[in-house]
Amino acid sequence: MTTPQVALTGAELLGLFAHFLVLSLLAVGGAITTAPDMHRYMVGEHHWITDAQFTTSIAIAQAAPGPNVLFVAVLGWNVAGPLGALATMSGILLPSTALSIYASRWGTARRETRAVRAFTTGLTPLTIGLLCATGWILAEPYVGEPSHRVGAVGLILASVAGMVRTRMSPMWLVGLGAVVGALGWA
């Protein structure tokens, strides 16, 4: 991760903002479920950042305190500095924020209606599928590199086991990852 390598034009910045506006409304189950599409757009389609920069951005946000959605700001920052962070962060927050406030007032009153129940029931499996896909895409660069494969896979499995089997804070796992990585094992 370095300072922005590509200078984005005004039109490209607007495009970035518009793309995140759309993703905001699709982010059922959290912003992280839209990470695969951000990857497709920023790394695959436009080559604004590399695969490693993308994964590192998410790792930095996870390592820092605060909501995971802040990885969106880091991605924008790495593409185009402060303006990039403003574009991605306001894009991902504005539509869902507006919708949340009004829909929660509306939905609370109609929680048990058939339409609202069908909406929840239908979208739950998609949310879970999206989370699996996100985990896969985040793990791929680590698993795909033979020199560090054993350590990385070990860390991934240890994190899953730690979270599912124990009630430990994820903070300890993130710390474990930092130590193992700093020793050059992951």
């Binding site: 695969p36 695959g44 929660s104 680590y142 903070m171 796992l173 990852g177 930092a178 990585g181 700093a182």
Partner: protein, 194 residues
Amino acid sequence: MTTEESTPPVPVPGPRSSADLFVTFTRLALQGFGGVLAVAQRELVEYRRWLTREQFVEMLAISQVLPGPNIVNLSLMLGDRYFGLRGAASALAGLLAVPLVIVLALATAYAEFASVPVVAGALRGMGAVAAGLVISTAVKLFGTLRTNRMGPLLGIGFAALTFVMIAWLRWPLATVVVGLGTVAVAVAWRKEVP
């Protein structure tokens, strides 16, 4: 500690002001490494007692159906309930402002030290854990498909289809959510008792 008794059913004292909301959400955001939801439950239900456990679960369920990060939606709803739009804005700002400064400072610092092998290695290790944390969330939620009102087979089927379309075929998310999502909601509609 007996959390059962420590959560009074009604009524719960709410935040005193928008500033109180801001400070509380800043506090809980700064304690949340790798996700804030667990900390939010402890802070809002057990420590501040602004919400009963039942109210918290109810708000979380609605947050999950709505687009956007769950914790962001939850902060908006809670703020809105007490102080309208001003409360919603205060809670959201509390959740994001200080952590945003920290994370961007870290990203900038990382750029300086990215060439140091120990720092790059530490980040790699944390990245692998981050992937593991996302996978573990998926694993935990996978169990809910068993009780999905569509039935477990259809639920797992839709989850698997979503995975293949996004992770392997790399289709745009909009296509998958609008296309497959419509089919899934339509199937669920037929299964729901009118």
